[in-house]
């Protein structure tokens, strides 16, 4: 097991020394006060999320006071690795929606791509501005050793969590200003500006102005990431719209304003493909903007991320990302993939069924930490239950070894204890490719737990990248 703070039982890693001193000076009283202050702050600003549970209307994610720290050199490696991956994923999308070289080269079987629901036929032969399909990519990483990181998942559609990254820093700076005097923490507050620059650099061909009008399209207040939508649009100074605010006329997309219609150039959409355009996708959808896809394909508006970008973060495609990096970029992957058995292949399925108690089994289309089996931590009966599920629907599952996620010091009942963490940094792809100088660290608050999802008792931490 790897602990982010301790080199061995008694030796603290250099970059955690300041934090350790700070922790030793903190009394239980101060910890309680600061915890209460953070909770009140999050509740007041309304940074809440909804869960599948009916009982709690709005919940806040537990916030842990102890930051997770990366040194400059650790981060540099991650930065290169994530950007490399983001470039490859975009190249993959550009390829499969055009020539399909990677299929012709027999690297990825075509059934795997074309039969997926997330593959969008209407994108065939169309290339978005700068050939960028997915301008905002969130990569979920775990660390297992000093120099060993694995990518768990790519998020190419509309990754969320960046508002937590920013608000966690905000509250830390407010509660513990001294920490930021004694530690050289790289600022992250320019993220919204960079996001806006990225969106503006992706203006469609018919946009003639140097300052394209960008909007953020939200499904509305019931969406679990609604806070983030309003936070980001506020920080970028752009309108947050719902689909009823938009309409198509002629070759362009407009929003309804008190001054009359205003042309929109770039839509940062936070709704799913299915709900974009009832004429093109789901005809039963009551939300959506009829005709937006025609405007999009004729260069009147850009939609970020592009419809159909989701195929790139499919769990079955994930297996091939290292191959993509070699194929498109001619480079060796900097970040490793987790070994993955895809259960629709007979050999793999048999292996998985024989080793269920050692493996993690996930639904191909699942998310939020639901519907998964953590073999080593599960009872015999739930293992048998998964055996039945797997046998009846092998295509629906993949399996991976259980990774030994790194521990990070976490305050549990005012005591410092190790809890497992992951990391989601955010990569922007526009005129430039760049990585946020930090990310969202999620922590499994329950002892021994491997599940960091907020829907399953996960918390969050501020994530520091120290300046060189």
């Amino acid at each position: 097991m790897f602990n982010e703070m301790y080199q061995s039982e008694s030796i603290i890693r250099n970059h955690y020394n300041n934090i350790n001193e700070w922790l030793e000076k903190m009394t239980a009283k101060v910890i309680n006060e600061k915890n209460a202050e953070a909770e009140t702050h999050f509740r007041n600003i309304g940074i809440t999320f909804s869960t599948n549970s009916e009982t709690a209307r709005e919940r806040i994610i537990p916030f842990d006071l102890i930051p997770r720290i990366f040194t400059f050199s650790e981060w540099s490696k991650l930065e290169k690795g994530v950007i490399q991956r983001a470039k490859a994923l975009n190249a993959f999308l550009a390829d499969i929606y055009n020539q399909g070289e990677i299929i012709k080269a027999n690297i990825i079987p075509k059934e795997l791509i074309f039969k997926k629901k997330s593959f969008e036929v209407s994108m065939f032969g169309f290339t978005p501005p700068r050939s960028i399909y997915s301008p905002i990519i969130g990569i979920d990483l775990v660390r297992t050793n000093h120099n060993e990181y694995f990518v768990l998942e790519d998020n190419c559609r509309t990754p969320s969590g960046v508002s937590y990254m920013l608000e966690n820093r905000e509250i830390m700076m407010r509660m513990f200003p001294d920490l930021f005097h004694t530690n050289r923490v790289t600022p992250i507050d320019d993220y919204p500006t960079r996001l806006l620059q990225t969106l503006m650099s992706l203006a469609p061909i018919k946009c003639s102005t140097s300052e394209p009008v960008c909007v953020l399209l939200t499904p509305g207040p019931l969406n679990s990431a609604y806070y983030e939508h309003s936070f980001l649009s506020d920080q970028m100074g752009i309108e947050m719209v719902e689909s009823t605010d938009l309409f198509v006329e002629g070759e362009f997309l407009y929003m309804k304003t008190v001054d009359g219609p205003k042309k929109v150039d770039v839509v940062y959409r936070r709704i799913d493909d299915d709900f974009l355009d009832p004429l093109c996708f789901n005809p039963n959808s009551v939300i959506g903007i009829p005709g937006i896809m025609d405007v999009y394909r004729t260069g009147g508006v850009n939609i970020c991320s592009a419809p159909g970008a989701g195929i790139a973060d499919d769990k079955a495609i994930y297996i091939y990302v290292p191959e993509m990096i070699k194929f498109y970029l001619g480079e060796q992957p900097i970040l490793e993939n987790v070994q993955t058995w895809s259960c629709d292949m007979d050999d793999d399925l048999n292996y998985v069924l024989d080793n269920l108690s050692d493996l993690v089994v996930k639904e191909v289309d699942g998310s939020g930490g639901y519907g998964m089996l953590i073999g080593p931590k599960s009872s015999k009966s739930s293992i048998e239950e998964f055996r039945r599920k797997l046998s009846s629907n092998p295509k629906g599952y993949i399996a991976q070894p259980l990774l030994d996620l790194s521990f990070s010091p976490t305050l549990i009942k005012n005591q410092v204890e190790g809890r497992r963490v992951d990391l989601r940094p955010f990569c922007l792809m526009g005129e430039n490719a760049q990585l946020s100088s930090g990310g969202l660290t999620r922590v499994a608050m329950n002892e021994g737990s491997f599940v960091v999802n907020s829907s399953q008792g996960g918390g969050v931490k501020d994530t520091w990248v120290l300046a060189e």
């Binding site: 509740r43 007041n44 600003i45 309304g46 509305g220 207040p221 609604y226 309003s230 649009s233 506020d234 309108e239 947050m240 719209v241 719902e242 009823t244 605010d245 929003m255 309804k256 304003t257 008190v258 001054d259 009359g260």
Partner: protein, 311 residues
Amino acid sequence: MLSRTAEYLYWISRYMERAETNARLLDVGYRMSLFPNPNGYNNEWESVLAAAGAIQGYKNKYTIIEQKNVEDYLFFDEDNPSSVYNCILNARSNALVVRTSFTPESWLAINKTYQEILKLKNNNFNASDLPNLTEWTIEQVNLFRGSLSSLLRNDGYNFLYLGLFVERADNSARLLDVKYFVLLPKPQYVGGNIDNMQWSILLRSLSSFRAFRWAYDGDVTSTKIADFLVLNSNCPRSLSFCIQNIVKHLTNLTCSPEKVAKIYNTLKDLNIKIQEEKIESIVDFGLHEFVTQFINKISSVDTDIQREFFN
């Protein structure tokens, strides 16, 4: 500005204003209930319901009109679309959508109010808590209004204030009407002790008693109070003050001058009339008739605003 944003801003201040009016109405009822009844006649709670436009809804739910139930209905009831509770919930869910169109302080003011009313609703309350609930509501609404002072003076600001004054114009007019036609059903009471006492309570509940004393010398008479609440443009709850502010915030809008002009034209006459009118001629014409016309006018202005700007 998005049409929807303008609409939500407009409604946020309407809801907040309505929450305040309902709380103040409950206060009117509460104070009146503490006074001895004339000839066994006791209908303050019914008039409160009437002024809140809630009689029908109330009667669908309860058979007897009594303090505890009226309080509950006007303050906490989820079935009453205008209860203080629902007003705050609605204002908050609108604010959630347009929080970035006003200041963080405005959002905080509304969101804290929301957090607190959820707690208040879960506690059982006694009839004697009512003055505290009223005070709390007024305080919360004042917090919200205070937070607006740091807003950019743009169209969003004007839509917020349009909502506030449209709602207040309507509420003030209804209060006046109720005073005359519900509280005092028998003509022989007019001008009597009960009459004057009720007027005073009305003034107190509008936090205007002291202001009235500053503005008028001598006895408290119903004509003076009517003058104060209808024509006195220094009184921030008078019909005159509301209409002037509607005109002001309407004509301050920078978007769509032709729409502004269109709505202004329908309002112009009333605005001029209310500045020139004398209270005696209104009373001769009939206060009730005057107020009814006024309410209809405000309602058509509201329809115009919604049609022109929010669609």
